[in-house]
Amino acid sequence: MMSQDNSDSVKEMGDPLRLSRLRPEWSARVPLTPAQRIVLIALCAVLLLMAAWQPWLTAMVFVLISTVFYVVHAIYKLALVRFSISVNSELVIGADEIVALRDENLPVYSIMVPMYHERESVKHLVHALSQLDYPTDKLDIQLLLEDDDHETRAAVEAITLPPGFRVTVVPVSQPRTKPKACNVGLDFAYGEYLVIYDAEDRPDPDQLKKAVIGFSRAGEKTICLQSRLNFYNPRQNLLTRLFTAEYSAWFDLSLPGLSAVQAVIPLGGTSNHFVTRDLKHLLGWDAFNVTEDCDLGIRIQRAGYRTRMLQTTTWEEACSRVSFWIPQRTRWIKGYIQTYMVHMRHPLQLLSELGMAKFLHFQMVVGCSTLATLLNPLFWSLAVLWFLFRMESLTSLFPGPVFAMGVTCLFVGNFAFVYLGMIGCFRRRYWDLVGYALLVPFYWVLMSYSGWRAFFQFFSDPFKWEKTRHGLGGQGNESNT
């Protein structure tokens, strides 16, 4: 039985696609603008002509540009980690500060949990959210259920929801994406602050109180706090171990590094805490972007606001099967491509809004990460060909300085990225996983496969939301919390 059902009110809600209607230039509704199409086609044409006219020279120039790109990217990533370890840019909230909070002074906190075919997660979700250390009368928890998702609705109806919970039914309409459901929920959210959780999430119990203190301490410009994400099933199998190594490096090293240099922060999928009023001013999420979180992170910066990292963790379920992991990663990379294309529609405007430093950070974090995933297989193939067959013709692709840079990337760059995984696990105190980070190169192969899948899907089916299946990793039995 539901404590509250505002499905009737849905008729009165605002437009969940309002961003794409009011600010179409900020939305991925049109994946590529006509100008972008022309530029891309022109680039391809020039490349093909060059390849036909001077194939070897074209290949050499391509290798040169790619090698420089790899060197810059590797240095950038290492610098981020250096900053993240040496400069504590995260908001660290002490236990004494939390104890000092008085319940009556706490603001109402909205929690939104979009769910779709998550029947098996309902009980555990309700239990996890009930564990939050926050007064019930100050909680506004919305379970966002799709109108046609009968199984999840039935599972929710079958239990008694604790006080503070309510269900918001999202009417069936296109696109069928999580950000659209979140936009519906945003209209009904009345808390001063708002946070998004996924159905399988287990946030640290004191997370909301930390966020309240964090917002009060971070200053007016900070309208978003990103919690760290990690997994409660890191040791389920090799894939979850490698996934954990990657996540630890990203959330415990790279994002704090970005925060330290005050760069653009692509938000993680869940546990983003917002100032509700400001989020509404930003028109919520882009319903057409399949990594709406990343896109919102950039828009926050473009609007002159700031995101900071909050030292608290939300525990998620690591995808434990390759068959589910690849679609999930495909969606993420496709979303990054969407985000990059949306914000690069007017590069000069982006430059003037972000400033040069943040503009370059955006290029590195959103653009270059994706490009590296796509380029990697090509250079791995070249390396393998050279090692196996010692093809001298390949050597001529790498004249003196390019060869030096290429070797540096191959042996130093790859080492650095493996080492980052080790440090990430070490920092997270996953002692036994430090060794598994050595196997991360195999994981990169999966990433590149997903990257190319995303690349083609961006053109063929840009709004397709490949849903990640949860509930395969237990429900937090292997708790690290």
């Binding site: 370890i85 004249p399 003196g400 030096a404 042996f411 440090i423 105190r429 002692w431 430090v434 060794g435």
Partner: protein, 505 residues
């Protein structure tokens, strides 16, 4: 501007200023780049030109570690030719400045207060230190990495900060990449980390994790070196063959004034005394620091026992900065124990006495070699006397050698063996010469069938004795080898003519 960023800017600014000062002083005094600097620049030029000799030069010998060369490589590429500035000199100055900044930074963090400036100045004014910065030698780089490793491992033992462990991991791995000389010290440092982990009451998984993070870069460096040897030289152990094949090295005294030996003995004694103090005070960081400080003369002693005292030069020369670091740590620790604030007021009693009695006299005594070097051509320790004499000029006999060979035939080819060939042939565009780091008599005769071939071999002394030509064809310099007949002497080099039949192929 927050404090961290300000401190970082301050450090970088200081580093930049010191680099410029060291560089300007070197240029003003007209110091020439030494043999090592010339060799490494030569390797870089060959590498940038895409020649095999360059690739071989980077990895084929543990006596010429790859890291200094690879550091000089981008500088060689980036420095405009019009500047006429030696890349190795610039890199040496940069690392020399970095060493000073690191010492000052380490002493600040340990709480040595204003005394850190005096101690850092002691290192910065040390004539040997400056001389090596000006000669473009790899010594400043070795010292910098040594100080980095030493400081970070001590800080790790004291505070167990992840960043310190990472710095130690990279510092020690790169130190090993500078060459063979520091391998003993790196091994000692690894042992300290392993022992430290073993005595901690934590899970086995955590101990393993610490060791993996600490040692992975080191293991990777060694594995990569072997892999490169296999790919470029066709033998994964090529770089260490000289050790396996050559046995005890040919004598050769370390070219240092006698008075310096007393300095080093005094420094070692001072560090040993501080080890006793650290043990008495249960100061684990101090024990780690002093033990690793003493590992330097220890490793030098081992090399002396193996009759390779000339290898020990970097170890002995690095002893002064390390001793200063140990002294600063000891001063800070004793001041803390006595309740004195070193930042505000000088340390009391013992500290000043030690500082005056140990550190400053050593700096002053070291002026002697500076005075000597003002009159004599500078000779880098560890490279010994050379036909080039570090003068920065090409030897005058090189054109004569070309004429001598052209008299026999205009189509001769001279294989110049060993690493000093890069210094000898710098700026030489004559097609007569060819670098031969991995010379093979039969293969050369086969590849240059019918052509008149010569072999130019350097006197096998000190580091040159470890060139592959000497362990592949032992005693070649004295006795020649099958089909290689003595022709003539050119400075410290000896020319052999390779005899081959000239019948139809």
């Amino acid at each position: 501007m927050n404090q961290t960023r300000e401190s970082m800017l301050w450090r970088w600014g200081l580093w930049l200023i010191l680099t410029v000062v060291i560089l300007a002083a070197g240029l003003y005094l007209g110091r020439d780049v030494g043999t090592e600097g010339l060799v490494r620049q030569g390797i870089c030029s060959e590498l940038l030109a895409g020649h095999t000799a360059g690739r071989q030069g980077v990895i084929s010998s543990i006596w010429w570690g790859p890291f200094p060369t690879l550091t000089i490589l981008p500088v060689t590429f980036l420095i405009p030719a019009a500047l006429d500035l030696s890349a190795s000199l610039l890199v040496s100055a940069m690392f020399g400045a970095a060493t000073l900044v690191l010492i000052a930074q380490a002493l600040r963090l340990w709480g040595a207060g204003r005394w850190r400036w005096l101690l850092t100045l002691g290192v910065g004014l040390n004539p040997s230190f400056l001389e090596h910065c000006w000669m473009g030698s790899s010594f400043p780089m070795v010292t910098c990495l040594l100080i980095l490793s030493l400081y970070s491992v001590t800080s790790w033992v004291q505070g167990r900060r992840l960043l310190d462990l990472i710095w130690f991991a990279f510092g020690s791995a790169l130190l090993l990449g500078t060459g063979y000389e520091m391998s003993g010290w790196v091994l000692a440092a690894v042992c300290v980390v392993v022992i430290e982990e073993q005595r901690r009451l934590v899970s086995g998984a955590e101990k393993r994790a610490v060791l993996m993070v600490a040692l992975f870069p080191l293991v990777y460096t060694v594995a990569l070196w072997f892999l490169m040897c296999w790919l470029i030289m066709g033998d994964p152990l090529y770089a260490v063959r000289s050790l396996l094949a050559a046995g005890p090295g040919p004598g050769g005294a370390l070219i240092l004034p006698d008075v310096l030996w007393w300095c080093y003995a005094g420094l070692a004694a001072g560090v040993a005394w501080m080890l006793v103090q650290a043990l008495r005070g249960h100061d684990r960081g101090g024990v780690c620091l002093t033990v690793l400080g003493l590992a330097l003369p220890g490793a030098a002693g081992l090399m002396a026992w193996r009759e390779r005292l000339w290898d020990a030069a970097p170890l002995l020369l690095a002893l002064l900065p390390v001793a200063v670091l140990v002294l600063g740590h000891w001063l800070a620790t004793s001041a803390r124990l006595n309740g004195a604030n070193m930042a505000g007021a000088p340390a009391r009693g013992g500290g000043r006495v030690v500082l005056l009695l140990v550190c400053l006299p050593l700096v002053l005594v070291d002026i002697v070699p500076l005075a000597l070097s003002a009159r004599l051509p500078a000779t880098p320790a560890g490279t010994g006397t050379s036909a080039l004499s570090c003068s920065g000029m090409q030897p005058s006999w090189l054109p004569d050698l070309v004429r001598h060979i052209r008299l026999q035939t205009p189509f001769a080819k001279v294989f110049v063996c060993g690493f000093e060939s890069f210094a000898l042939l710098r700026d030489n565009t004559s097609p007569v010469f060819e670098h031969a780091l991995d010379f093979n008599l039969d293969k050369s005769k086969h590849d240059y069938y019918g052509q008149v071939l010569y072999l130019l071999v350097h006197l096998p002394e000190q580091r040159n004795a470890m060139d592959s030509i000497h362990w592949k064809y032992s005693n070649i310099y004295v006795q020649g080898v099958k089909d290689a007949l003595y022709d003539s002497d050119w400075g410290d080099w000896r020319l052999f003519e390779l005899i081959q039949a000239t019948g139809p192929r």
